[in-house]
Amino acid sequence: MGLLALLRKLKSSSEKELRILLLGLDNAGKTTLLKKLAEEDVSHITPTQGFNIKTVQSQGFRLNVWDIGGQRKIRPYWKNYFDNTDILLYVIDSTDRKRFEETGMELNELLEEEKLHGVPLVVFANKQDLATAAPASEIAEGLQLQAIRGRQWHIQACSALTAEGVKDGMQHIVSMMAKKK
């Protein structure tokens, strides 16, 4: 085997690239989660106009994470980022009970998208560090995640701010990918 081929093989086996789409309503904590994954400072986040993208190395995977702004005005652009998505991460502000219905509706629309057909879903029930946060089980029930068919899914309680639960969520992503292949 030539050196170049050997190198290429080494690279492809050790570095599998994944495209991860990070969606959710505004103020859910998508950018904070993105920055936490990239081990960056999360103390001066601002609302996302447009999108952010970061590449993160995790357990032999190269994750290209796309964080798209969540404000209503921007949501029509979400569909431009669906192509070739390996995993959908959906972030929910667990303290924002007033908008549980809205976030559930957005999620359901996403699950019906042709281009996201069969794409594994991880719901991050974020902001668990706050006393008023609804527990992940309650959110799962409200979103009727049990009714999901034809894709792997997982709900993860977390706090992107303190990083609690973020690693566990990422572990699930990796094991989902292993199952899928």
Partner: protein
């Protein structure tokens, strides 16, 4: 890799050779480094930054301390440095004043950063009547002809907040974000409202308030990383007040708006790239020693 190695080698070499070089120059010119700098550069960023570097690299802790300490007594410090460095006022009459100005600028920048940081760390809190009053004032400044129907209202989206309650949009910029939006809308009302109006364009438009908060993040980052020194050392021969920083914000926002439209974006999703391009442009211009951030905005108001 090689350039990195060369760079670090050079830095080490420079560190070793610097005292020697200084000694030689001191003998030849008969002047210490601080004095040489005040002769070599005229008042402004180049002089002050060289003084700052010299103080930082000094082996004397009392000089070093001047670049760390919170609000040192400047007059005492000037006299002390002159005594330590044997600078005779009769021989170098300009030094005392020049050096005092430099110290004021250096300490002023540090104090400015402290004040800005404090404001940024203060979270917007809707239970605080003072905060609420300021937010309402922002509405009145930008929308003088429209009454806000209720405190939580879809109307906020009209001035570019994301939802019906602006409080979650300040996030990591805290009160600093709100104060800067207010400063722009009150000191340059006509321009701010014109920019707001343009921002409603269906294709090229953006969300005024959250882009404004994003611009706060931009100027805050430039301040924190020290890039803003060029501007402040060239513009203010003393301590810069926080209003001066808010003025820089107005300039940066105003110029960003022009830059945005000149880039002819396809839609709002290009915001990230265009903002990064603009940031690089700003950093580049702040690396030029004579830069002062003055826009058409300020010239018109002078």
């Amino acid at each position: 890799m090689l350039t990195e190695l060369w760079g670090s080698l050079w830095a080490h070499l420079f560190f070793l050779l610097r005292p020697m070089l200084k000694w030689v120059l001191n003998r030849v010119t008969g002047k210490c480094e601080l004095l040489r700098i005040t002769y070599q550069y005229s008042q402004g960023a180049e002089r002050t930054q060289n003084i700052e570097d010299s103080l930082k690299q000094s082996k004397r802790s009392e000089l070093n301390q001047l670049t760390i300490e919170d609000s040192p007594n400047i007059s005492n410090a000037v006299l002390q440095v002159m005594a330590v460095k044997n600078i005779i006022p009769e021989v170098h009459p300009q030094f005392e004043n020049s050096f005092r100005t430099c110290l004021l600028q250096i300490c002023g920048y540090r104090e400015l950063l402290t004040n800005v940081e404090q404001l940024r760390k203060t979270k917007y809190n809707s239970d605080n009547p003072e905060h609420e009053k300021t937010l309402m004032h922002l509405w009145k400044l930008l929308m003088p002809d429209d009454e806000l129907q209720t405190r939580v209202s879809e109307q906020w989206k009209f001035i570019g907040f994301q939802g019906n309650d602006p409080q979650t949009d300040f996030r990591g910029m805290g009160l600093l974000g709100l104060h800067q939006l207010i400063h722009f809308a009150s000191k340059h009302n006509a321009e701010a409202r014109k920019i707001l109006q343009k921002s409603h364009h269906p294709k090229l438009g953006y969300s005024y308030a959250i882009v404004g908060i994003n611009m706060t993040d931009l100027v805050y980052d430039l301040l924190k990383k020290g890039h803003m020194k060029t501007h402040f050392y060239n513009k203010i021969y003393g301590k810069a007040a926080i209003e001066e920083f808010h003025e820089v914000y107005c300039h940066v926002f105003y110029e960003f708006d022009k830059f945005w439209y000149s880039e002819n974006p396809k839609d709002i999703m290009e915001f990230g790239q265009i903002r990064e391009k603009y940031r690089k442009k700003l950093v580049h211009s702040l690396k030029q020693p004579n830069t002062v951030l003055v826009s058409g905005l300020e010239k018109r108001n002078d």
